[in-house]
């Protein structure tokens, strides 16, 4: 251990090796190591590999609740010093950044050139590019701009033994070799550590507006959602919010369907008109129109609703994935069940994509456990993203079963045969 620490200090400087870092889900790391760049990071991973210790990569640490606790005997590899822009060609609408850059900093860099990366991860001031890719976290505007799956055009990684490799490039269309970007997105750092990422960028829209429609009943809310889906409108986000109305909309009914329109001014106005009248036909009890700062503030708040960083001690966060047409039934099940068990429930759902984040609270741990069980019986793809350690232990945190697990284990074995990367947490 002393030996390992001095080797790490020799690589990154003693000031960047921390002895008593906070625990990850109750598991204390041997140390936290903060390399300055990808070369140092690769060297750190190689040394950890030689010493036979695991590596838990961490950006902002906002999603360390995800997955199982790491197996003991690991270092925490902090990427936040890798926070530079490597290449930015505004006129090409592409950027290459280091993995430890926060989404907030990236957003500010791009805004200066009228561009954006609409990934909308929660807690952007701390969430890093590497972390949002590794977790594959989505945001409301996946509807309009798709997810990191379609915006990531190149990636650089450090593999389990410190080997460096890359895939993709700095062009927006590329089939040169296998699409390794897809492999690393959402792999929770279990295959390789992302050290750099290249993105295709989107011009910031000339106009934007929120049409927030309040409802008393889910059926009415979904009648609006279905009407939008059946139209030729092109909103960039349609969120179903239950018990979690963002600032500015608190006074409204228990349910809000928040629609975001972006694009040319005339197109945005068309969305405002059409969605408002659709909402009236769907028996909305109120329609609020937001622009400019209030619009921005509402979406920042909605983005944060899926955060798993700061939980109440009696809180659990689930992510439910289903076919889009089943979402109405899924959220109805979720709220009926919460009602029956007298649990507090908040939902933020990507209404046209079949994805819902559920935040459930109860002082009764057994009630939370029963809730998870009961919902899982009806909906197989529910991930228990965050909750009390006792509750996660032994639970099916990745849904009823991971499909094609054999094949995934073969991939894991090819990439990390010694099981050193995020050991015990995912595949």
């Amino acid at each position: 251990m002393m030996q390992l620490q001095s080797e790490m200090a020799a690589l990154v400087g003693a000031a960047h090796v921390h002895n008593q870092p906070g625990a990850i889900q109750g598991q204390a790391p041997l140390m936290r190591v903060c390399p300055a760049d990808r070369e140092e990071l690769a060297a750190v991973v190689a040394v950890a590999y030689q010493h036979g210790v695991g590596v838990v990569p961490q950006g902002g640490g906002t999603k360390q609740q995800w997955g199982h606790p790491p197996s003991s005997g690991f270092i925490l590899l902090d990427t936040t010093r890798l926070n530079r822009v490597l290449i930015y060609e505004p006129d090409d609408l592409t950027i290459s950044v280091e993995a430890g850059m926060t989404l907030g900093m990236l957003t500010a860099t791009l805004a200066a050139n009228g561009q954006m990366l609409p990934l909308d991860a929660p807690l952007p001031a701390r969430s890093t590019v590497g972390g949002l890719l590794a977790t594959g976290i989505d945001g409301p505007r996946r509807l309009g701009y798709s997810s990191s799956r379609d915006l990531l055009i190149g990636v650089q990684v450090v593999e389990a033994n410190g080997r460096f490799s890359k895939a993709g490039g700095m062009v927006v269309k590329n089939v040169s070799g296998f699409d390794m970007m897809k492999l690393y997105i959402g792999s929770l750092g279990s295959l390789a550590i992302i050290v750099g990422a290249n993105f295709k960028l989107i011009p910031r829209p000339r106009a934007a507006a929120t049409i927030a429609c309040a409802f008393e009943q889910p059926a009415a809310a979904f009648s609006l959602i279905h009407a939008i889906q059946a139209s030729q409108l092109t909103p960039v986000a349609v969120e179903y919010l239950h018990g979690s109305a963002p600032p500015g909309l608190e006074a409204q009914a228990p349910l809000v369907v928040a629609v975001c329109a972006e694009g040319l001014p005339a197109a945005v106005e068309r969305h405002v008109r059409d969605v408002s009248s659709m909402a009236e036909r769907s028996a909305a009890v109120g329609v609020t129109l937001l622009r400019d700062d209030p619009h921005e503030a509402v979406w920042a708040a909605i983005n944060d609703l899926s955060q798993t960083d700061a939980l109440n001690p009696d809180e659990m966060v689930l992510r439910l994935s289903c076919l889009p047409a089943d979402l109405e039934r899924a959220v109805t099940d979720a709220s009926d069940l919460a009602h029956r068990h007298a649990l507090k429930l908040r939902i933020v759902a990507r209404a046209l994509s079949g994805m819902a984040y559920l935040r459930i609270q109860s002082h009764d741990a057994a009630a939370l456990e029963n809730y998870h069980h009961a919902l899982l019986a009806a909906w197989p793809h529910i991930s228990l993203l965050a909750g009390a350690a006792k509750q996660k232990a032994g639970a099916h945190i990745w849904g009823r079963a991971i499909p094609n697990l054999d094949l995934m284990q073969r991939i894991k074995h090819e990439f990390d045969p010694q099981n050193r990367l995020n050991p015990g947490r995912y595949i």
């Binding site: 090409d92 927006v172 269309k173 089939v175 094949l407």
Partner: protein, 479 residues
């Protein structure tokens, strides 16, 4: 296994009509759209069901014969060519659209469904399958998945990978898996994402849930004519930089204009050095404003004329000219070599200038018809295959184009894939470590290299060898 026994067994699996074994008939399968690389399969089998595919795969594994999946054979890199013999497994009889699920925005297809026919089928529902390669009237969705194909409208709608929710695939041991169904975040790795674009080397896709894209409310098409390709290229760079987002930005140069003029009677002025096809779509509101801004950029870059295609018929004619331009090349030369490469979009004008120089250096005409908005070039080198010197110069010119592209920060394929044609160029872009990571992924799916061997990985750096090298602890330089 002796060939007659193999053929008998295959006939037992797929029926008499599902096996092509006659040597003359087999000759039609000796190449795909890449006529420079040829090879004959021992036999071609045309299954109709997933179960049959699985039985064929198990038989091939037992006999130690490679399997080459093939759709319509329109690929341009030899990806569907049996370079090392073996069994070719054609999707031609797996051509059913099985279910349109509008509520979930998805359609279930067999791999042999023709891309264009799928979109035509979806039209009455108000949808399309967005990837639209130029070969869409012949190419199959299975081929699109294998190559992660593009097309003009990928500029706005993304390439095939953005339109596949999940595939059913037969693996090398004959087992059948589904990688997804349209539920947005199933747990585990993104197998759909890595299978798409794997060029038939992971397994045989036997069905797929594909994404439905709603047809836009309104579409506008204009054709801007320029005295030379530099003006058209600069226009594209500036349109992208200004943050406008057309649905398609396609360039045809003078030679291409000549060819399509003759074939489609477009009446494009022959003094035009380049035509830029611009399409914008979306809700009706705001489209004219968008088009106005794009048109202004055209005029600023010296456009000779900007012609709107006002009616649906006019739009169809312009698009037909663009999409059939490769076919029209037959008017100019007996053979063409289409080079697929992508550069960052600001490098378009310079790269096109270099392509012109390469044409003069090798004394071969090069026509250009390409997806300018994505920076995806398609220089078409015109030559006569029977002329050995021209043959050689065509290969060298293609290599020259790829070199220039890479120097400009580009890559070796934007939408056609690597196959055989580009496999030896892979080392220009990728280190041994990069290739070894790809090989590791490949080995997880197909450990014995049963599916489409000899593709993608450079000659002499086979997939198995790279993966073994990696397992033995390959430690590369940190780049």
């Amino acid at each position: 296994m002796h060939r007659p026994d193999l053929i008998d067994e295959l006939r037992r699996i797929v029926g008499l009509r599902g096996v092509v074994a006659d040597p003359h008939a087999l000759m039609t399968y000796d190449a795909d759209g890449c006529v420079l690389d040829t090879g004959n399969p021992v036999v071609v089998v045309l299954p109709t069901t997933t179960e049959q595919v699985s039985a064929v795969v198990r038989l091939a594994a037992r006999a130690g014969l490679p399997l080459v999946p093939r759709g319509a054979g329109t690929g341009l890199t030899g990806g569907a060519t049996a370079m090392s013999g073996g069994i070719m497994i054609s999707s031609a009889r797996m051509d059913k659209i099985l279910e349109v699920d509008v509520r979930n925005g998805r359609v279930l297809c067999q791999p042999g469904v023709i891309n264009y026919e799928l979109s035509q089928y979806l039209k009455p529902y108000g949808f399309q399958f967005a990837p639209d390669p130029s070969s869409q009237k012949a190419c199959t969705v299975g081929g699109n998945i294998a190559n992660n194909s593009g097309g003009p409208h990928c500029l706005k709608y993304g390439i095939t990978a953005s339109h596949v929710y999940g595939v059913e695939m037969v693996l090398a041991d004959g087992t059948v898996m589904w990688s997804g169904d349209g539920s947005p975040a199933p747990p585990g790795y993104d197998l759909t994402g890595v299978i798409t674009g794997s060029e038939g080397t992971f397994g045989m896709v036997t069905a797929a849930w594909l994404k439905l894209t709603r047809l836009p409310e309104a579409v506008r098409v204009v054709l801007a004519l320029f005295p030379d390709i530099a003006g058209a290229s600069s226009t594209v760079s500036q349109v992208i930089a200004s943050g406008l987002l057309p649905a398609a930005l396609e360039i045809m140069d003078r030679l291409a204009i000549k060819a399509v003029n003759e074939m489609y009677r477009l009446g494009l002025p022959e003094q035009a050095g380049a035509a830029l096809l611009i399409e914008v779509d979306g809700v009706e509101d705001g489209l004219d404003e968008l088009l106005h801004d794009v048109t202004a950029i055209c005029w600023r870059n010296g456009a000779l004329d900007v012609r709107p295609a006002r009616t649906q018929a006019e739009q169809n004619q312009v698009w037909a000219a663009r999409k059939n331009a490769f076919g029209a090349m037959g008017r100019l030369a007996p053979t063409y070599y289409l080079v697929d490469t992508v550069v960052p979009r600001t490098r378009l004008p310079y790269t096109m200038e270099q392509v012109g120089k390469i044409s003069r250096t090798f004394d071969l005409p090069i026509a250009n018809v390409f997806h300018a908005g994505d920076g995806n070039l398609h220089p078409i080198i015109l030559f006569d295959r029977r002329n050995r010197s021209q043959n050689q110069r065509a290969l060298e010119a293609a290599s020259g184009v790829l070199q220039v592209s890479i120097e400009q920060g580009g890559v070796i394929s934007g939408e056609h894939g690597i196959g055989v044609e580009k496999r030896d160029y892979m080392t220009l872009l990728f280190s041994t470590e990069d290739l070894a990571a790809m090989a590791g992924l490949h080995q997880s799916f197909d450990p014995h290299d049963l599916f489409n061997p000899g593709k993608i990985f450079p000659k002499g750096r086979g997939c198995g060898e790279l993966a073994a090298l990696r397992r033995s602890g390959l430690r590369g330089e940190v780049a």
